[in-house]
Symmetry: C2
Subunit: 338 residues, 2 copies
């Protein structure tokens, strides 16, 4: 049995999306056991009338909610009865619980994970690794997308090892092509930190390092994961999402501006539906925080049930594949805190 | 008469695009005088049979070309007879020449501008400020997009002042809305450097600072320019271009996959042409390097004649509006090297 805690509050569509996503995940995995944290009467009300295996679902009452505007460290320290802090505590204290999913405040979740869970043996800092769809039907991971605004080359080396193992074990990519985000492809591009990272990553035998990547090639399908500091990784992910949304919005606006365009779009109905589904970030789950002692998955604030279900699946797959022990092993072998 | 030097070699379509763009600019501005540098026989051959006002066009022979793979500082030092170095020398030595346009190696151009031209009074470092189209039909500047991989808050403050004056004087935007690129909108987001920059920029009365911007909102039309370090600015610009290209490419691929989609696209022919034209970066010129003692405009390597013409227009407008003296005045007034 794989046990995962789901923080049911936080997120634009909580608790409904979080609970519906949880029930869908229970249906998907017969050996999954879920603990839902949050206001128990609200959760019970949401569950009433729905069909699910109640022997694999447990509710833990936690009436408080952490808002996205609260100072992360204060929220974690003071809101002990919040659905998020409760979930983190359960994860920390229960040997048989392997991971958690939250749609709440990113800052609070990172602060809580760092202070309450701690890191895997050998990990300097954990990193977020969200997954985006590439244009050839594959996926690409971005590591780190915002857990570390500042990094050193030693961090980037670890991110490369962790992202490679993540893509291999959770997405079944064999020998993932790992790139370093830079301002040009040549090995001497960027600042000293990037040049050092380039050298360090290329020396790790277990990483299939393919060199520097320019951000314009992110969706090309030529890379399985790209390694970067959390600031530019954040820019990379949000620019990709933003440009895709703005552009599809513009196309929609143009289509509605003339009857003949609308007519054309009627003929392409299925095409646009496929495109929308391909670009729908809900289908790709959340940002996995790699490197903490137990699995933490952060869903996008706008997550609906399908995204929450995907987040739970990510946590499940990480545990199923023993990703964390593989990371510890690899770091022990190939990372010596130079 | 406004005199501008055009480096005719470097770029995927040089010298043809550079020369055709030059002739179009001469046609556009009756008081423009151009000096073309490069292999004079190649330039003469390209000009032959074309109509232009030869009294406003001069050719300076410079047979060498700097490749994009050459080490910038070496190339500038050793290739004295290259079209780029010759252009920089003319710009430096001729009081009546106000700017230059090059499509060649970015690194070499920055190195050459820094070492041969120097900075405007008060400027710590120059910054690239390319312009992208927003979805509401406007434009947004990104400053810096790659001249400075590492920056301090003092740099960012200057970028804010320079970008604001650039958008106002060259694009006619009154009281440009200037934002700071960050991982979240709240003022305390990011690292210490960003928080310091936030404070410093908000204290400049001449800058209409609207706070932090998340990269997903770049194309929304809510900002006229965004200020950032050159690394994340580079990621921002290239991700926007890359995502738009990949997405439009995907739509095209899908359209061609089924006759009925193709039929629909026939009805939308003008719509897609409008969209393509709107997203065509050729129409927005190049990256202006702001802060050097004389105007330097760097065109995209893939520039065709229309893009080169736009680059020359940018250099022309910068001189016409006395942008550089306005920058020196503003820095003298509002920037005191804290």
């Amino acid at each position: 049995m794989i046990k995962i805690v789901v923080d049911c509050f936080g997120g634009d569509h909580s608790p409904q999306a979080n609970i519906d996503g949880s029930l869908a995940a229970l249906e998907q995995f017969p050996d999954l056991y879920l603990i839902l944290t949050g206001d128990s009467s609200a959760i019970t009300a949401e569950l009433s009338g729905k069909r699910y295996d109640s022997s694999r679902l447990e509710i833990v009452h936690a009436p408080e909610v952490i808002g996205c505007d609260e100072k992360p460290t204060d929220a974690i320290r003071l809101k002990r009865e919040s659905s998020m802090v409760r979930a983190i505590r359960i994860l920390r204290d229960s040997d048989d619980v392997s991971g958690m999913v939250s749609i709440g405040s990113t800052g609070a979740l990172v602060a809580g994970a760092l202070t309450r869970l701690g890191m895997l043996e050998g990990v300097i800092r954990p990193a977020f690794c969200p997954i985006l769809p590439t244009m050839d039907g594959g996926v690409v991971g971005i590591c780190d997308s915002g857990a570390n605004v500042e990094v050193t080359s030693a961090h980037l080396k670890q991110f490369a090892i962790m992202a490679s193992l993540y893509l291999e074990n959770v997405y079944g990519v064999s020998s993932p092509r790992i790139a370093l985000l830079n301002v040009g492809k040549e090995s001497e591009k960027g600042d000293d930190m990037r040049r050092e990272a380039y050298k360090k990553i290329s020396e790790v035998p277990v990483v299939n390092f393919v060199g520097n990547m320019e951000s314009r090639d992110l969706l090309s399908g030529s890379y399985d994961a790209v390694v970067c500091d959390g600031f530019s990784g954040n820019v990379l992910v949000k620019t990709t999402e933003g440009t895709a949304l703005e552009l599809l919005g513009k196309v929609k606006e143009m289509i509605y501006s003339k009857p003949v365009y609308k007519l054309g779009a009627l003929l392409q109905k299925k095409m646009f539906a496929d495109l929308k589904s391909m670009m729908n970030y809900q289908n790709y789950g959340g940002s996995v925080l790699i490197g903490t002692r137990k699995v933490v998955v952060k869903g996008h604030g706008s997550s609906r049930a399908v995204a929450v279900q995907k987040c739970i699946e990510q946590a499940y797959r990480m545990e199923e594949s023993s990703l964390n022990s593989k990371i510890e092993e690899a770091l022990d072998k190939y990372d010596h805190y130079e």
